[in-house]
């Protein structure tokens, strides 16, 4: 009941932010919403399937570069089409990478995903002609639902139509993910996370479920990645660098992987905290490192765990 009230209040807040908040903060909501989409997907793998990927920047990169490539090398400007292509490319890449990775668990899975992430990063950096190397590629302003808003001043475009478009994508992504985790499929993922041997004894193919979760999470990462491009108008290989993969794992831990909305909260806090810390200190990574250590040791179920009215004994054990 309280949860629904909080959700309704927050929904109202994000709807009115562009009308009341300073543009600077409205623009900061854009990467938040993009990362929130990424994290909803990542947490299907992390929180619900029990696999920690250190290579999901690979799929963020695929999504972001898909948008850049389509707008600069083809006549495609429709953001809907860009998101579709990004998601499809993410799925194809994840189908291959996932098939090779999901047979392994724990650190081996993490390291393998990291390795594929690094491969893709190097590809972006070295295949200069296709990717623009370290300078990256431009992302031309996409049309939204067929509306060409090319004449609009950039800030108005981003803080208005683009904001609501991103919000729409986030809402759809949230509803779909909510259905996925509450479906029979979602239950099967949790059995795989909790006890793979028992899941197999119940006839649930562990590798197959892990692979499906991996592919779905990659689609989310790619769609989120595609949303990251237009606000800056440029994509570069740092989007696919391993620190990016680390950041999204950090956001998930910060918010709490045991809760559906935890990672979304994590993304929000991360982005606004990063901005605040960077404005007062040049050593923001130092502060974030300390926060990460604090979260892992003292609040393993993240910020969401602090809010939830759960007894400590019920808090999920760190996996």
């Amino acid at each position: 009941m309280i949860g629904r009230f909080v959700l309704a209040a927050l929904s109202l807040a994000v709807l009115v932010i562009p009308l009341v908040a300073p543009t600077y903060y409205v623009l900061m909501m854009l990467p938040f919403m993009a990362y929130a989409v990424v994290l909803l997907g990542l947490n299907l793998l992390f929180g619900y399937t029990g696999l920690v990927s250190f290579g999901h920047a690979l799929f963020i990169g695929i999504g972001a570069y898909a948008g850049a490539f389509l707008t600069t090398h083809t006549t495609v400007r429709s953001l809907e089409l860009i998101l579709l292509v990004a998601g499809a490319l993410g799925a194809v890449a994840a189908a291959v990478v996932g098939a090779l990775c999901v047979r392994y668990v724990k650190i081996y899975f993490g390291m393998l995903t990291l390795a594929f992430g690094m491969l893709f990063y190097t590809f972006l950096l070295k295949f200069y002609r296709l990717t623009g190397g370290d300078e990256g590629m431009r992302v031309l302003r996409p049309t939204l639902l067929g509306l060409d808003l090319g004449q609009m001043p950039k800030t108005d475009y981003l803080a208005g139509p683009y904001y609501y478009y991103s919000l729409g994508v986030l809402v759809v992504a949230t509803v779909l993910m909510w259905r996925i985790v509450h479906s029979p499929f979602g239950l099967c993922l949790r059995t795989v996370r909790d006890n793979p041997a028992k899941a197999e004894a119940l006839g649930l193919g562990v590798t197959r479920y892990r692979w499906h979760a991996f592919v779905i999470s990659a689609v989310y990462a790619a769609v989120g990645g595609a949303l990251l491009g237009p606000p800056t108008g440029n994509v570069d290989p740092t989007l696919a660098y391993w620190t990016q993969s680390g950041n999204i794992v950090f956001m998930t831990l910060l918010g709490g992987f045991a809760s559906f909305f935890g990672p979304v909260l994590g993304a929000f806090v991360f982005i606004f905290l990063q901005d605040t810390v960077m404005s007062v200190l040049p050593y923001w990574r130092l502060v974030f490192g300390a926060i990460l250590a604090f979260v892992v040791i003292f609040a393993p179920s993240g910020l969401m765990g602090l809010f939830a009215r759960r007894a400590p004994a019920e808090a999920p054990a760190a996996r």
Binding site: L176, S183, P184, L187, N195, E200, A201, G203, Y209, A317
Partner: protein, 263 residues
């Protein structure tokens, strides 16, 4: 007290022939043959190191034998793995308690029902609104006396209830044959008969045609089995009805006596 699982028996369901299994130089099973027919309750007994665990892993397709054949419903099941075997109609429970720590009792049984109905790939369907899955899971929970605890998370259950939940989820697959690895281990003596009664009733209700169990408690073994297979040093020492086993001083001395001492 011997009670057949169902009246009509006879069809050959599971057959292992001349199964040997080596771990390096060590011979765990040396030419074991075993059949299980519909309607039978078969107990496998033997002291530690007799090869019971290896035999179970071979019979459940978890482990491929070094030589010999294993057939279930006339299909070769050597090393086919638990997922495929479940589809064919064989389920198992584990010696050490296997539960999903963060899932509730209801969710655990529902997972088995979802698996059996092949609904595990329903991505966007609501589990809460799937009345078929929920009703069937509730039915199994009631059979095992777990209905009142269906919202309890597995890791908070008492040891005996965890054991019941493990077995209940295997029964929720509605297998034709079920293999129970020490279904009453870790349970107090007074609770053992209760669990066995539940198992026998449940298997009748769901139409399970045969039960194989590995058990150390001789009262349970002699009280419930139609047939007892005694293993010793990787070989079948005896394969007979409880009365015949009791009448064989050699088997009683080598296998049963030792188990009695151990327990």
């Amino acid at each position: 007290m011997a009670r057949p699982v169902c009246a009509r028996r006879g069809t050959l369901m599971l057959e292992a022939r001349d199964v040997t299994k080596f771990y390096g130089d060590f011979c765990a099973l040396a030419g074991v043959s075993l059949t299980v027919r519909a309607g039978e309750f078969v107990s496998i007994i033997g002291p530690n190191g007799a090869g019971k665990s290896t035999l179970i892993n071979v019979l459940t397709g978890t482990l491929a034998p070094t030589s010999g054949t294993v057939r279930f419903k006339e299909r070769d099941i050597r090393g086919i793995g638990p997922v495929a075997l479940t589809r064919l109609g064989m389920a198992r429970s584990f010696q050490l308690v296997h539960v999903f720590p963060d899932l509730t009792v209801a969710e655990t049984i529902e997972a088995a029902v979802v698996s059996r109905l092949g609904r595990g790939t329903r991505l966007f369907a609501s589990l809460a609104k799937d009345t078929v899955v929920r009703e069937q899971a509730l039915e199994v929970a009631e059979l095992f006396g777990l209905a009142g605890k269906r919202h309890v998370v597995a890791r908070q259950l008492a040891q005996g209830d965890k054991k019941l939940l493990d077995v209940a989820s295997a029964f929720a697959l509605r297998p034709e044959i079920i293999l129970l690895d020490e279904p009453t281990s870790g349970v107090s003596t007074s609770d053992k008969t209760g669990i066995m009664e539940i198992l026998v009733t449940a298997s009748r209700r769901i139409g399970c045609r045969a039960i194989i169990q590995v058990e150390h408690d001789m009262d349970i073994v002699f009280g419930y089995s139609d047939r007892i297979v005694a293993l010793h040093q990787g070989r079948v020492l005896a394969d007979a009805a409880p009365a015949a086993i009791k009448a064989d001083p050699h088997v009683m001395d080598t296998v049963v006596g030792r188990l009695r001492e151990a327990s």
